[in-house]
């Protein structure tokens, strides 16, 4: 009896010592007190709601970060769909780049909403897409859990997976995108943005119309400055300290814990590798040195290589920097079990549909998926739904 009690007590202690998996919205484990405080304060900025008087607009997609990144908690997804537009010229006119992000015409993010003052001044409900655009892409809202770990992956690791000229002749290239200043891109569906801080500073401007010291000027209305009197808040509308806090919150969000793999899902993991999915959706990336211990030398089950791949003409839409219309960054699959819509524009409502819509470099793996025996196919889907 005593022995049995002792056994139960030990078992209880073991269970209690096991850290529970992080829930969506939890911070990374192992933060210092100061880092945890920044995370909490950053969430307050992330959750804040802007009005025209506090900086919103005049053009905007949302009145705060958490208006879009809301489901199931701050940092999650949302049901908004954005419009991105660019002009791509495969045959380049003399002296210009193939991709025109329409930066001189208010691009490439065309905001869906305007403030009442801008509506009264111009009679518009959203920013018009200029006639020069050759494509308009729809963009769903990604979850951003674990993005701090993606930010901490060294460029050298990403570049090590690149094979821009397909020199190994496996039909999969993997091209790095670059921001306009030459830095390696990794965030956004076209891997345009080099780091989280840039992503957030840019989002304050492009998504909320909130200026910061990093982006001190308002978005234009298709290239025209906003009319006088339509932007009551003085620039910058958000301090550098608050912008940095918002980034700290995003940086320190834990990646979603995958679900426990069933035996079927474990078989699916093997199928995932065998049929070639893992060539682009690389299961693990490793972070480099980092001032934050919770981000330093960590393995992250990201299921991405953060590189561009040709996905075929059916998925193609806009270009962006070096990304052609048909090239997209390998979407990270971590947190896939939280998603209800798939692909960059949400056109797929099931995992199976999303796989079947892969083309281009992924066509071979897609075809193998389609030809799998029903049991293996179900196993692969079970694995994906557990990520």
């Amino acid at each position: 009896m005593n022995r049995r009690r002792c056994f139960a007590l030990v078992a209880l202690c073991v269970v209690a010592a096991c850290p529970r998996p992080p829930k969506p919205g939890d911070p990374l484990r192992g933060l210092s007190r100061d880092e945890r405080e920044r995370f909490d304060n950053g969430r307050a900025v992330f959750d804040s709601v802007f009005t025209p008087e506090t900086g919103l607009g005049p053009l905007f997609n949302a009145n705060g970060c958490a208006e879009c990144h809301e489901d199931p908690v701050s940092g999650g997804t949302g049901d908004e769909v954005e419009r991105h537009a660019t002009a791509f010229h495969a045959v380049v006119p003399g002296g210009v780049r193939m991709c025109d992000e329409l930066g001189a015409l208010g691009g490439f993010v065309y905001q869906n909403h305007v403030t009442p003052a801008l509506q009264a001044a111009l009679g518009i409900d959203s920013e018009p897409v200029p006639a020069a655009a050759t494509a308009v892409g729809r963009r769903t809202i990604p979850e951003i859990f674990g993005f701090g770990l993606l930010d901490a992956v060294p460029d050298s690791e990403i570049l090590a997976y690149a094979d821009p000229d397909d020199s190994d002749h496996d039909g999969i290239s993997g091209r790095p995108n670059r921001f306009f200043d030459g830095r390696l891109g990794r965030f956004g569906r076209k891997a345009l943005v080099p780091d989280l801080r840039d992503f957030n500073d840019g989002a304050f401007s492009a998504e909320q119309g909130v200026t910061t010291p990093a982006v001190p000027t308002e978005e234009t209305v298709a290239g025209m400055p906003v009319p006088a009197g339509t932007d009551p808040a003085a620039d910058p509308e958000l301090s550098d300290a608050k912008a940095e806090l918002a980034t700290a919150f995003v940086r320190l969000l834990a990646p979603p814990a995958p679900l426990k793999l069933s035996r079927e899902a474990q078989q699916g993991r093997d199928v995932f590798s065998r049929i070639g999915c893992a060539r682009c959706h690389r299961p693990t990336l490793t972070t480099g040195d980092n001032p934050i211990a919770a981000l330093r030398h960590k393995q992250v089950d990201a299921y991405t290589d953060l590189l561009l791949h040709d996905m075929g003409p059916d998925l193609g839409d806009i270009c962006l920097a070096l990304a052609t219309p048909t090239e997209f960054r390998t979407e990270p699959l971590m947190g896939l079990h939280l998603k209800t819509k798939f692909l960059h524009d949400g056109r797929a409502t099931t995992v199976e549909q999303a796989v079947e819509l892969h083309g281009g470099e992924a066509a071979k793996a897609r075809d193998v998926f389609s030809a799998l025996a029903p049991g293996e196919r179900a196993a692969l889907v079970a694995f994906l739904k557990a990520l």
Partner: protein, 126 residues
């Protein structure tokens, strides 16, 4: 004494080098306000002597149009700091760093350096 001579020479050389790097601005160039930009050349108009540079932060993209007077120094880091180049040699996709000032007629460049090129290769950031 030897140390003093060496030091004097070094100071002279440094002053000379500094002067060479920052040639005194002709009176026609703007002095204030001034700024700098690093981005990708999106268009070059040699006849109008303008340069469009795409820059920005994250998804907030901006295009800066610079007037480039004929006497503006344009250098190429790849060729060596002192190697100058002509406006016509700048191509779309080149990454440049430009110092400029604001005038009633627009933004006017007063130094342009080509630092690299946007390419999908596996080289590190230029």
């Amino acid at each position: 004494m030897h140390r003093l001579t060496a030091l004097s020479l070094a100071v002279c050389f440094a002053a000379f080098a500094l002067a060479a790097q920052h040639p005194s601005a002709p009176p026609s160039r703007p002095t204030a306000p001034h700024d700098s930009v690093r981005g990708a050349v999106s268009a070059v108009d040699v006849q109008a002597r303008t340069l469009d540079v795409t820059t920005g932060v994250g998804f907030a993209i901006r295009v800066v149009r610079l007037q480039v007077p004929a006497d503006v120094p344009i250098t190429d880091r790849g060729r060596g700091q002192r190697e100058s180049m002509r406006l016509v040699e700048l191509k779309a996709g080149d990454i440049v760093r430009a110092a400029f000032g604001s005038r009633p007629t627009g933004l006017v460049a007063y130094a342009i350096e080509r630092v690299g090129r946007m390419a999908t290769g596996v080289d590190s950031t230029p």
